[in-house]
Symmetry: D2
Subunit: 287 residues, 4 copies
């Protein structure tokens, strides 16, 4: 639901132990905060604890910065990795695309419609095709062609533009290039890709052709964080759609587009709402 501007989201992960919830919820209650939404997860195998709290501070006189500063004590006591985000703060999300328009058009419409709560400082593409669509939405478009012989200059420029726009997160909306390690590391845990297959099936090139050749009865899409290991990063969201013998590769591509769009939009939304907590190469998603 729509976040009030007096809300803030606290996300925590730490070694499991008794008293974490008591300490955190006591801290919140003592400062007049009201829990609007709370999600917990205990990974018994790893003995690790994950928590997300959406806190209504309407009746509190503790400022965001004081709350944050004071929480540091608890965080240290429990060895927490944590973040606190105010509903007033919108993430800056840079989108990368190539020629295929469906994912980009879908994200831009959701953004324009007020569904995606973020700012989009710019779109970067290695092709010119989507400029008109992007600019119609009032968003700057940067064309950074990638030279097959030497891609490094293009990636450096892409990274430079992304950083210049102070991107909090980056979304690959069917961007058809493999980003270098440096880029992946710069945006570790904040670089989101949509892969057009139900991973780990059909990694690599042309998954729809692979799916057609294998004769699967469902095709899918996977939204995941990009890591150095191609198609191996933590999975945020997946879904599938039914196909049959009457679906050739073209028809699979057509049906697949609908899944790609939905899965990317859902995954990005989870990310923007701080619903995704990393657990090694896996993602805890409080969906």
């Amino acid at each position: 639901m729509k976040a009030s501007t007096k809300q803030q989201t606290l996300v925590v992960s730490c070694p499991d132990s008794a008293g974490i919830v008591a300490a955190v919820s006591g801290f919140i209650a003592d400062r007049g905060g009201l829990l609007v939404e709370a999600n917990h997860h205990t990974d018994l195998q790893q003995s690790w604890f994950y928590m997300r709290n959406v806190i209504d501070m309407r009746n509190s006189d503790v400022s965001f910065s004081s709350f944050k500063a004071q929480f540091q004590e608890i965080a240290e006591a429990f060895q927490m990795q944590w973040s606190l985000r105010s509903a007033n703060t919108r993430q800056k999300v840079v989108l990368l695309a190539s020629r295929l328009s469906h994912c980009l058009a879908d994200l831009l419409h959701r953004w324009q419609d007020g569904e995606l709560e973020c700012d989009i400082p710019c779109v970067i593409s290695n092709h010119e095709d989507l400029r008109r669509m992007v600019e119609w939405h009032g968003i700057p478009f940067h064309h950074v062609p990638v030279d097959r012989g030497d891609k490094s200059a293009a990636f450096a420029k892409t990274l430079e533009i992304t950083q210049r726009h102070e991107a909090d997160s980056v979304v690959l909306a069917r961007y058809m290039q493999i980003l270098p390690t440096q880029f992946c590391e710069a945006y570790s845990g904040r670089l989101i890709n949509i892969h057009h297959s139900f991973l780990p099936s059909f990694v690599g090139a042309d998954p729809y052709q692979q799916a057609y050749d294998r004769g699967v009865k469902l095709i899918g899409a996977t939204c995941h964080y990009v890591t150095e290991d191609l198609d191996e990063g933590p999975i945020i969201e997946q879904d599938v759609i039914r196909v049959g013998h009457n679906c050739d590769r073209q028809e699979m591509i057509r049906r697949g587009r609908d899944v790609e769009k939905l899965v990317l939009a859902r995954g990005l939304r989870y990310h923007l709402e701080d619903r995704v907590l990393l657990q090694g190469n896996k993602a805890v998603v409080f969906s």
Copy 2:
């Protein structure tokens, strides 16, 4: 996941206010309890709070009964409706069936396979057909025929048998009779039905024929608590399956059976694991 015998589940609902989670989780932590699973829900419209905690008491020296007695104070302070159940306690579930075997066979197999954590003291049916199946599972079978002219005697006897077996909950596994108000009230919030349509579509008789006549493209099933108002009780779980022009009523019945079985099994499981909290005529399900 499989519950350890040192676990207990605390379920709470109460008017929303600051400090509930802090009070409850503090209470648990003070007694050496460890949160294994926690679900919260705040209904902002009704200003009502719902919580379910699975607590590991392995490292605690507070007994179940002491824990329960001591919790009373918090419960009163926050005007809670609440329950505490030990993983050692299995609910007694009486099953009612008629002639159709699929839901009953499915539940009995899951129970035999150790998937449904409950005791089944008996099965009651208004027909003899399923006796052999029930008794093969080692469960007593009671045949209580329902006389069309005067059903009250049969229902009284059914209620008497159910109460004699000290049933905690009752499941209507395609039991084809409408139970009287007295029965519904005696097991309010503990009487589970599977309706063979996607409610509120197709209430009343022969929903598959209704679905066929209307030409819908999906048929469904609904697991709900029975109230006096037929087919109107709180919904626990629903699901659907695709049908097409090549499905006549018989084929819809056939496909529908698979959804009925799954939805009933899932709904019952949520109920047994104390995942269902009533909210007027709606059910909060921590699935």
Copy 3:
């Protein structure tokens, strides 16, 4: 899959009898036509037969018009309702919308992307809001406000514009007005609506609020032909999405949009590809 321009689609329905397929397929083979896709359905209850043939005429020297003229004889012999459409002919589809943009934006993008094989001569709306979006796609936009006191003038004008553009079909992309009988009859079997519920559940106003109040676990959307009886016309396509206790009405609306878009796009596609054959108030859909 993409239709070649030498393809034509023959759609037939008639009383069932022996020899229909033999006669039709013999007719096609005799003229050098090759069956690319064929769908049959026999409604045994109504004793009615439905058939759709996609025919490749690449190796035929029989023209479209000769084929059509010669087929008349068979059609009469079997009392067929039938149509023959060349892949060269694109339907003209007029879209009606109000203020909500998601369905319209989705259809326009699919059309621009080459996925929807039709022409869109214009969009008509009772509000100005969507003009900019429509015109950016190079499509004329007509604003026909509907006066609450007397709606007839607006509907007459809407019908006039639709007819002036020689619309083959009309799509209500969340058009929030109830069209008069005259309009429904003028485009009988060619007037497509998207209803934001899983019909027959929640007919009438604000189905998401109704769904919220009833506590259903899935919400849906229904694409159907509009008839005089509101929300009662033949269903072309339906789908659902899961919701839970954490979904208020706003969140249901948000999730529902994704189903509405998909279901309308699929339904329209079936219609454009002549996959929908009417059977009284039901639709045979060769999907």
Copy 4:
């Protein structure tokens, strides 16, 4: 729908050419047959044609054997692979199982309930566990233990029992052994397995552990024909179910069972109704 005893199913695949449907449907009509159900598929890439006709011979005086003999001429003209099965003939299906009961219990109940139209001459298992369940259904149970050191004797005996019972098809209902080439070849295209993952994901051992480790958001099951290449045979049916971070391996196994049961039952049904036509390593399924 339930097949009348005067029905027969004709299944054909052959190189694509003009006139196949005309020839076959003419042949049927000439003999007084009425098409009850017809499915066609043209693989344009391979230029291959697939057809399934369910024919009502109620008004025909041509016997099954004459029909079959006379059809030979057409079959040769078009180089068809084909089969004709009378609705009077039920396939004999031998089931192989190990210790897990869910798939076997599900199939046996469907069979007992009249849903699976086949005979089950016996169940063979490498363990004793399921004897009582099988025998309760009135079906002979053969215990053929598999010696880890030398499995060949056990497989030879399993094959011998299967052949002695004149099995038309064999189903591996979570049979935990890899059958030797000889067995696979003896029942090529008639040996059905349920694999507990969404192939081609997670081939090999313990797919649920693999799925857990990879953090996928959906798990699945695959019904396929067994070939020499383990987990690589033609896929008949697949489906998935949603999982989340709160699902450990045990919970995945539990949820997965429901998908396994459904997918195997559907796949077997397609097979028994002659809806599955092989196309190299892929299966055309007229579902």
